[in-house]
């Protein structure tokens, strides 16, 4: 069993990824957080939860902009395309979806990574909450 020493503990920095309940309009996306990774640093994201609270446009059958992204999704991106996220959590209906903490995303290449939540429909507004933690491990 390993022991986390105070010396090691002091080198670990947790960066919160949090978006309180927000109305996410159809086809729009929001940047939840930014994760800068410098040369020599490594960031691990084990916790990333997308909570689709409810659909704010009742009586409409959602039309998806991207077939692969559900009603809404949250991901970690270095580039712009929503389908190319290094970590991706999508919701196909109301409820909470989470990144598998046993399959963490590890970012060790320098860059400015963004956490983006996106409404993937063209006709439904959504109420979403995002939470998570990015941990600098070195």
């Amino acid at each position: 069993m390993t022991t986390l020493t105070y010396n090691r503990w002091s080198q670990i920095l947790n960066l919160p990824l949090a978006l309180p309940q927000t109305e996410l309009r159809r086809g729009r996306s929001l940047q939840v957080a930014a994760i800068p990774v410098a040369l020599g640093e490594s960031v691990e994201v084990r916790a990333l939860t997308l909570h689709l609270l409810r659909l704010l446009t009742p009586g409409v059958s959602p039309v998806l902009n991207n077939s692969a992204l559900g009603l809404c999704s949250v991901g970690i991106y270095l580039t712009d395309m929503l389908t190319g996220g290094t970590a991706l959590v999508k919701a196909t209906g109301p409820g909470a979806e989470a990144l598998n903490p046993y399959a963490p995303a590890v970012l060790s290449s320098p860059g400015f990574y963004r956490v983006i939540v996106a409404n993937n429909t063209s006709n439904v507004d959504l109420a979403v909450v995002v939470s998570g933690v990015a941990t600098y491990t070195s």
Binding site: L39, G40, S42, L64, N65, N66, S67, A68, L78, T79, D80, M81, L82, T83, G84, G85, T86, A87, L88, V89, K90, E97, A98, L99, N100, P101, Y102, A103, P104, A105, V106, L107, S108, S109, P110, G111
Partner: protein
């Protein structure tokens, strides 16, 4: 070996005294010549030399005992020695009478020479018998026996009657000052016989362990072969504590509240429930468990009463019939064998941890590779703007990617590596006249006045056009050319010089770029024609280059069709930025595997160099594996550590000869990755999985191969799922039935667009430039330490390798 059990009657002492032992100076016992005058010192020396042989036996016992402890974790008995000794027993036939366990001691009627002629030679033979018996037992029991037999002792029978030689521990020696009588010779010989009895006792005890290690071992090293194979791994002996909620089978034994219990029926009740359990004095089962220690699985049970072995793998859908104990027993499935390896565990590499990770499957979605077009610049892709980097979509319209695997029925995903790009580069060889040339260009040999033309379709943006050209035959100082775009003049009798600053013709093959000229594409498919008006030599058009200013509004809308199923992509992309677009279809029923990508909206042309087709499904989870969710990731960490250790060895071995790996300008591309991986493979040979190897090979020495189809012959005959190692003796195998195929075994596979987010092996310090779209290596050489990070789209472009799917848990809970 069986007959040694009688020696167990002897009480073993914990040490063997050195006494006056001395090594024979000539390799043989000091000879006695009966015709010469009697000299007690020669007899004394012979006894001392025989005592020395006992020490050699003790050393041999020590070696085997240590090996038993190392291999099985069992503290086998071993005599304490009082000095260094070699575990080697010389053999000289003239010093032995017969090789058996009898020792004929002298009596009052004997003459002194009889002590040498009979007793000493019997003692010599008995030493040889003890040593040889131990050596033969070790040879049978161990892969790498610690001692070797004396091959010349051919007279040692495989089974001998083993009697207790008449021995008594007494520190008597022959001396000239003592009376010349029977005891002068007999007492020292009886002491030597006693020492032999002690060594025989130790050998007998060791033989018991070697005969049945399962009754003694604290650790087994077990490999499952052939059907559903498993790599050799350690099974550790341990007490089986009762676990609440576990459903025990009849006969299972557990430890609970300071007592052992045996299940009378299949039950999950507490052991204190007398209707389900009975208390027992001690367990009759010795249970060895491998990780992950799932409840009642991944274990081997040795029944000490029935002397049987039973293997439980990670699933309990099939029950292994207990087998009489042996180092190799039949397994659960046809051809499967469970082999206990009598050797030390080897270093566990990334591939080992891959197959360990495979033991546990968790519920969730899984994606399986079906097909890939690793370079789309082939005839598998049609109706696209074919650039030097592969297919691209530039204007509204549909391109077809034929994965060429036949019908598709199921749930499919296609992932494409894409790169919006403000530059379009078309190889000269893509012309409509089918004129070819070196390096993909077109060597324009038809003569003055002929023309070449290319189909292009560019978005209606302000573009510039230029050509990379050269001369390839004779000598030329330049050409006069004209060009038009679907009838609209682009170049009018323009001069393309091929001279240096002194107006001297350049060397053939040296590329020159023409001056960019503005063009205005209409947004549809158009034809660019190039007319050669004047000039000598052979005009070689290497590539056409079109460029447009970068724009931020790169909105792409695409639809993907497989069969009749349609999936949509609506994304924004940055100029030069490598990314991935994903098309998820529901249930597909398609008679072919042609994916039609329709570009509905675009700004900059979209390069699509790699296409990847996958199926989606749900996993069949391993039952009752709660609490082990992190196991696959743990295995991944161990695999990563193994690769890093291998890299450290490479650095130590190559020193300053280690290449930088990165290019001279600091960039990193797929060639850099390949070189870097080749160095990693030096000490991690099972690194890269290479499928589809046919009989022509190459089979590389030190690499492992697994048969994936048919039957092959290499250093043996192998069928599907069998593995073999490449040797220096053969670089190819024999294809027995015409479709024999093998894969080089490895823990990593090429990273593809559908793998984005999965763990990949990349050197430290790689950085992607969002502006230039290039990858820079901040570290070189020994600093390019391998590390596992999530695969990003740009890593696919530089040929990064991802871990095999066995390491992947479902990404989303």
């Amino acid at each position: 070996m069986n007959q040694l059990e009688s020696a167990l009657l002897i009480t073993l002492r914990d040490s063997i005294k050195w006494e006056s032992a001395v090594e024979p100076t000539s390799g043989t016992l000091t000879p006695i010549n009966p015709v010469m005058p009697f000299d007690a010192r020669d007899y004394h020396t012979r006894d001392r030399e025989l005592a020395f042989r006992d020490l050699a036996n003790a050393a041999a016992i020590m070696e085997v005992s240590i090996e038993v402890s190392d291999v099985y974790g069992y503290s086998a008995p071993r005599p304490i020695m009082q000095g260094r000794q070699r575990a080697l027993q010389p053999w000289n036939a003239q010093d032995a009478r017969t090789v058996n366990s009898q020792v004929l001691h002298v009596k009052n009627a004997h003459v002194p020479y009889d002590a040498a002629q009979y007793a000493d030679r019997d003692l010599y033979g008995r030493d040889a018998l003890i040593y040889e018996t131990l050596a033969r037992a070790a040879a049978v029991a161990f892969v790498n026996p610690p001692i070797t037999g004396t091959a010349t002792v051919s007279s040692v029978p495989p089974v001998t009657a083993w009697s207790w030689a008449d021995g008594t521990a007494s520190r008597n020696e022959i001396a000239t000052a003592l009376p010349l009588n029977r005891d002068l010779f007999r007492d020292p010989d009886m002491n030597l016989a006693d020492r032999d009895n002690q060594m025989a006792g130790y050998v007998a005890t060791l033989a018991q362990v070697l005969k049945n290690p399962f009754a003694y071992a604290d650790r087994l090293y077990v490999q499952v072969r052939s059907n559903d194979p498993r790599e050799a791994e350690v099974y550790a002996f341990g007490r089986q504590d009762y676990v609440a909620g576990t459903f025990y089978s009849t006969g299972d034994e557990v430890y609970y509240a300071a007592a052992y219990y045996r299940a009378l029926v299949a039950t999950s009740a507490l052991p204190t429930d007398a209707t389900a359990w009975v208390a027992i004095a001690s367990p009759t089962q010795r249970v060895f468990t491998a990780e992950p220690r799932l409840s009642l699985r991944n274990r081997i049970v040795y029944d000490t009463v029935a002397q049987t072995l039973q293997w439980f793998r990670e699933t309990s859908d099939l029950v292994h019939v207990p087998q009489l104990f042996a180092l190799s027993i039949p397994g659960l499935l046809p051809r499967q064998t469970v082999n206990t390896l009598a050797r030390l565990p080897v270093r566990e590499d990334a591939q080992f941890w891959r197959q360990k990770a495979e033991r546990l499957v968790f519920a969730g979605e899984e994606r399986t590779d079906v097909a890939v077009i690793p370079y789309t610049g082939t005839d598998k892709v049609t109706n696209t703007l074919m650039q030097e980097t592969g297919a691209s979509l530039a204007v509204a319209g549909a391109g077809t990617f034929n994965f060429d695997i036949g019908a598709c029925y199921g749930t499919y995903t296609a992932a494409f590596l894409v790169k919006p790009h403000s530059t379009v580069e078309i190889l000269g060889g893509q012309n409509n006249e089918a004129v070819g040339g070196t390096l993909g260009g077109a060597s324009y040999t038809r003569g003055v006045g002929s023309q070449l033309s290319w189909n292009i379709g560019l978005p209606p943006l302000p573009w510039t056009f230029q050509v990379d050209y050269t001369n390839v035959t004779d000598t030329s100082t330049g050409w006069k050319v004209s060009a038009d775009l679907s009838g609209t003049p682009v170049l009018s009798e323009a001069t393309w010089p091929f001279v240096d600053a002194t107006d001297t013709a350049l060397a053939n093959g040296q590329l020159v770029s023409s001056t960019p000229v503005a063009i205005a594409p209409t947004g549809g498919n158009q034809v660019l024609s190039l007319q050669w008006l004047e000039g000598s030599g052979t005009l070689h058009v290497r590539r056409l280059r079109f460029a447009t200013p970068t724009t931020d509004d790169n909105h792409y809308r695409l639809s993907g069709t497989l069969g009749t199923s349609v999936a949509m992509v609506d994304v924004y992309g940055g100029d030069h930025q490598t990314d991935v677009v994903v098309f998820d279809w529901g249930t597909v029923g398609s008679p072919d595997s042609k994916v039609r990508i329709n570009l509905e909206r675009a700004q900059l042309p979209l390069r699509m160099p790699v296409a990847h087709l996958l199926t989606r499904g749900t996993t069949t989870p391993t039952p009752v594996a709660a609490g082990f969710e992190g196991y696959r990731y743990d295995c991944l960490q161990r695999a990563s550590r193994s690769v890093q250790d291998s890299f450290a060895k490479v650095v130590a071995a190559y020193g300053t000869n280690l290449p930088a790996f990165r290019n001279g300008d600091g960039t990193w591309d797929s060639d850099c990755t390949d070189e870097w991986m080749r160095y990693l493979e030096v000490y991690e040979p099972r690194l890269r999985e290479t499928p589809g190897i046919r009989s022509v090979g190459p089979i590389v020495a030190g690499r492992q191969y697994q048969v994936t189809a048919g039957t092959v012959a290499y250093d043996g005959v192998y069928v599907v799922a069998d593995t073999f190692w490449g040797t220096s003796g053969g670089t190819s195998f024999v294809d027995v039935n015409g479709y024999g195929t093998v894969s080089q075994v490895g823990a990593f596979q090429p990273g593809l667009p559908g793998h984005v987010g999965r763990p990949a092996l990349v050197p430290a310090g790689l950085e992607f430039s969002l502006v230039a779209g290039t990858v820079t290596a901040n570290y070189a050489g020994s600093l390019a330490v391998p590390q596992v990070a999530s695969l990003q789209p740009w890593m696919v472009e530089v040929g990064a390798w991802v871990t095999q799917p066995e390491f992947w848990p479902p990404t989303q809970t």
